[in-house]
Amino acid sequence: MPSIERLKDMLLEGTGARLLILPALALIGIFVVFPVIWNIYISMTNYALTGPRARAYEFIGLENYVRILRDPSFYNTLRVSFMFTVFSAIIGQAFLGLGLALMLRAKEPEGVLGKITKALKITASILVFIAWIIPEVVAGYAWSAITSKGGLISMLLGINDDVYVRYPFETIVVANIWRGTAFSMILFTAALEGIPQYIYEAAEIDGAGPWYRFRHIILPLISQAILVDFILITIWTYGVFTMPFMIVGPSGQGGVAQIWTLYVYYDAINVYEVSYAATAANIMFLIVLAMIIVYLRAIGYLKKW
């Protein structure tokens, strides 16, 4: 029989101490891994939110998958999600973020002009940052308000109506650019700061113009950051739920702006078809997983540089 001393040693000195990882693994196992697996099971049943199918549901195999692949609304949400991600993440956040990072790095002239430039830079970057960190529901509320009838945006566009009803897709794209640009800005700023000053100076002495410097010196040096940024914001934008939910609602204004997260929520909560929603979620999860694998490959590849 092991003595108390031995047991104590085991926990304090080695073998046993490894068990300290268990709480974390248990949490992840029960509330992350198991739900993902459960979702697969649910998608093969006819589980519903209410009614008899909520209490006694049956296994129906791949029926939901067959059904969803014939469902035009599913293809609609696929298309909307894709467009939303491309416009909001790559075209919006990444480019705006890069542009901002470059602007923040621009040389400040001496004297008053420089002080003004600096003040403008700080103001702009703080606002971008705040937009990113405030709770998502608050951001969603603010955007739904200013795009409402009588709000500033509808005034500027000259329409006497809710902008998010008239242009739901455009509204959530712009709102999400507003929300997410800070990440790219910070990432690129860090990447630009990683370039030693002497490289800029050497290029300037060599007589390289601004565009040439950007194209042939800065761009190659931050290409890793660009790659990582593209992949990460694509994954995150693809999974966005809260702001669009607040602005256009789960139906996405009759499907026009119904990205897949709204589609899943709508199916599960508004029309009670939980297993059908789970089916959609699983298919979408496969797509995220593919993107994550690309990310892992990318950072693995970058490590070898």
Binding site: A24, T117, I134, P135, A191, G194, W236, V288, L289, I292
Partner: protein, 278 residues
Amino acid sequence: MAVVVLRIAKIVALWTLLVVIALFFGIPLVWLVLSAFDPNASPEFRIPSTISLRNFMLLAEPVSGVPPLMWIVNSAIISTLVATIVTITSILAAYVLTRYSFRGQGAMLTAFIVFRLIPPLILALPIMILYRSWGMMDTIHGLVLAMSALILPFTMMIAESFLRSIPVTYEEAAMIDGCTRLGSFLKITLPLAAPGIATIWLLSFVTSWSQFVLPLMIIKTPSLMPASVGLQFFFGEYGRVEYGKLSAFSILYSLPVLIVFLTVQKYLKRGIAGLVSR
């Protein structure tokens, strides 16, 4: 002469761009602040004719039977619990990951990257289904556990890199000086990691504070709701929105996040830069 003109043109162009950006990002925020102090707030963008704190005062009065301030208190309780659970479990796990080597360690780290990137909705849906059969729907502990698990992969990576940056030699020295292996970690490394631990606690606190999807799916009773979902009750029936009160509430609700990010700002940039060269 031409050079001076060109230089000035350059500066003006930069200014214009910066102003446009500041406007784009600032308008929703400024509207939020203005309307919070406007007793007759509407979507309209305007300087309030009278500036008052009335909207803030009204938050003590019930909306749908619950005073909105209670949602903020709920959020504080939930987030404190989540942050504490997450900090302790991720430090312990990171200790094992950085101080021991075992089979499957690399795979485990990779798995954590994957978990961190899963959209929350993918988990919220099955968790809701499971909670319905586990009797954990509409419970604070159910929400706290699920939220902790959701945030854990993120904080664990931070904890891991923090602990990795503290040399093991200190612990070895302490072991020779008479500590147990675990004791040397608690006495030496943990105090050294204190800034990192505080950062982890704060970041998990604000992440949980802002989380929306999980409470939306799990909590149905208004008096149990955190602020993120309690906020929906300001949207009345028939599209009537109480803008003034909602803006005031939004500002109160956003304040802790702003304060936290101000304090961890420096670390944040390092963390983001670390995503490229992990």
